[in-house]
């Protein structure tokens, strides 16, 4: 029993660390609960319930080795248990405190200065969301990377029955988002655990598998332009139907 509790707690703490990173947001949350408790007047029961007791009860629920044990079979052996931390009301608890703090100040300018100070504190505790790592510019309203979008659109535009494509890993997530009539030779693996033929395709080793692709009824091939392939697709009755800076698309002739 003790073993189970300590083992599960270790897992929870590890997941908790993965979830909260350097813990600054979480520390702010704990501080907010403590200060909220101190400043909320006894007659403000609703606020006390929602920004003091509720976060505490929810913490007891999610940071709990028994709950972890119970839901383990349904959370990929506990791997996605971090989603349980979503029920902790971080934003409202912290925002309540900040609002109260600003309200305590008298005079417009002192309120503005305190608000700016709080924004700076939040900014230093967290990380700005709108960066180039998170958002890229795109020129199609499907929000698919432009070079990949044009490749898929070129396959889509072909009048052919039973379209099936062999594609690089970088293209896999997008094809069937745009056109579900195009089948693909293999599926995306979130863990990167692909078959050997997929990795070989990435480095241009196609010769060994070309028979497999044709037997599997692949009739489109998307090639990465930066890769040197060990065959010429024209030799296999394919014609180049599209090309951009990153990819070339071949179609098997009827």
């Amino acid at each position: 029993m003790i073993d189970l509790v300590s083992k599960n707690m270790e897992r929870i703490i590890k997941l908790f660390t993965d979830y909260y990173g350097n813990y600054t947001y979480f520390v702010l949350f704990l501080v907010a609960i403590a200060i909220n408790y101190a400043i909320i007047k006894k007659d403000e029961k609703k606020a006390q319930n929602l920004v003091v007791f509720l976060p505490l009860v929810l913490m007891l629920i999610v940071i709990n080795p028994f709950v972890f044990e119970f839901v383990k079979p349904f959370t990929d052996k506990g791997y996605v248990y971090w989603r349980f931390f979503w029920i902790l009301p971080l934003a409202p608890t912290m925002a309540y405190l900040f609002t109260k703090m600003v309200n305590e100040k008298k005079g417009f300018f002192s309120k503005v200065i305190l608000t700016i100070f709080i924004i700076v504190i939040i900014g230093f505790s967290g990380k700005f969301m709108f960066t180039e790592n998170n958002y890229q510019k795109v020129n199609n309203y499907y929000k698919i990377p432009d070079d990949i979008y044009s490749c898929i659109a070129s396959i889509s535009a072909q009048e052919k029955d039973n379209k099936k494509a062999m594609i690089p890993i970088s293209v896999v997530p997008w094809v069937r988002q745009y056109d579900a009539t195009i089948s693909i030779e293999y599926n995306r693996s979130p863990s990167g655990n692909y078959s050997r033929f997929v990795w070989d395709y990435e480095v241009g080793k196609v010769n060994e598998y070309m028979k497999k692709y044709l037997d599997d009824k692949c009739n489109f091939f998307v090639l990465n332009k930066s890769v040197q392939y060990d065959i010429s697709f024209e030799d296999y009755n394919c014609e180049r139907i599209y090309e951009n800076d990153s990819y070339i698309v071949y179609m098997l002739k009827d």
Partner: protein, 364 residues
């Protein structure tokens, strides 16, 4: 132009009408458009959740599911128009008064900060490869007119995709795409990321109003700080703030940022409304809608509801501890009433969880 009008119809008017079906019978929330739109969305979610699972089991087409759900939604809208026919005028008067009495500077600050976020998520692309599953399933449903028949590669599924069938948010995405005549990928990546973000902040505004006893100024300041917390919330890859701002079209992001926090608002109304039927229905619908967006909703929504019930029940008992004997008996009764009604609201989640566990082989 027609498409844009259809978008307005689906994303704004229909949810408001659906929500007004219930808020019509509420005291405080009557004519509250924010509350109505929130409940309206949850009603849509619940309707799709209710029908998608049996339709998938019966191997029905996507179109037949769409037709049934749309007919029900339209029927509910017509009922709403009939029962609220005298209310619409009041709604407009309320909006006018609200605009008049709203603190201008704080409203402007909140509007700007929300607008910037909406602009970024509307204009820019975030690459998330999980979309090959969540968004592609919507495209597959719509373009092949099937429900979970085909796998992500295009072959026919050899096994029943239990996990995805029990939280068919992509089917909802496909239905919105069909209604508005936009591509499901565009709906998910563009329309959902904006509309659901707005709903998230509407919910936080309602929460602010509850926390600060309907003081708009405080509620807006609260909303402003929530926005700042979200904007700087890229603390790790898994944070709910990140999910909200980079991949809100995925059901799990909707669960963590919209449905779970809205349970606080809806539960509070439920308690304030003496757990009367319309409030109870609201809570039940919200719990039901949690199942649509993610299988995690089967567990997280009941946990949240459990937390809220524990807090409120103890508050009732503690408040009445030193009261007279009669009051204490009354407190015990309201404790039992609250606990029982909350438990009933978990029924959809528990039932789906049991079915899910049986299908997964966890229960034999």
């Amino acid at each position: 132009m027609t498409k844009i009008l259809l978008c307005f119809l689906w994303f704004i008017f229909i949810p408001i009408l659906l929500g007004m079906n219930i808020t019509h019978f509420m005291k405080k929330e009557k004519n509250n458009l924010f509350y109505s739109i929130l409940i309206g969305y949850f009603t849509e979610f619940a309707i799709f959740q209710l029908f998608t699972i049996p339709f998938t089991y019966l191997n029905k087409s996507f179109n037949s599911l769409y037709n049934v759900c749309i007919e029900i939604i339209f029927l509910l809208c017509i009922i709403s128009i009939i029962i609220n026919r005298n209310e619409f005028k009041n709604v407009f008067v309320d909006i006018k008064n609200n605009i008049k009495n709203t603190p201008k500077l704080l409203t402007l600050a909140c509007f700007i900060i929300i607008f910037i976020q909406c602009f970024v998520v509307f204009k820019y692309m975030h690459i998330d490869e999980d979309d090959s599953n969540f968004v592609a399933k919507a495209t597959i449903s719509l373009q092949t007119n099937t429900l979970y028949v085909y796998s992500d590669t295009g072959t026919v599924n050899s096994t029943f995709p239990v996990r995805y069938v029990f939280s068919p948010f992509p089917v909802y995405t496909a239905a919105v795409a069909k209604f508005t005549d936009y591509h499901p990928t565009a709906i998910a990546h563009t329309a959902f990321s904006v509309m659901i973000l707005i709903l998230i902040y509407i919910n936080f505004y309602l929460l602010g109003m509850k926390l600060f006893n309907d003081n708009k100024k405080d509620a807006l300041l609260f909303l402003f700080f929530v926005n700042v917390i979200y904007i700087f919330g890229d603390i790790t890859f898994h944070s709910n703030f990140r999910f909200a701002l980079v991949r809100l079209w995925q059901g799990k992001a909707v669960l963590g940022n919209l449905i779970i926090p809205s349970l606080i608002v809806i539960y509070d109304s439920f308690v304030q409304g003496d757990t009367k039927l319309p409030y109870w229905i609201c809570l039940l619908i919200t719990m039901w809608s949690a199942c649509l967006v993610s299988t995690m909703g089967l567990a997280l929504a009941p946990l949240m509801l459990g937390g809220l019930t524990i807090v409120h029940c103890f508050r009732i008992l503690n408040f009445n501890r030193k009261s007279k004997k009669g009051d204490f008996t009354k407190a015990i009764l309201s404790f039992v009433n609250l606990g029982f009604k909350s438990l009933i609201c978990c029924a959809p989640n528990v039932l789906y969880a049991i079915m899910y566990a049986i299908k997964k082989g966890a229960i034999k």
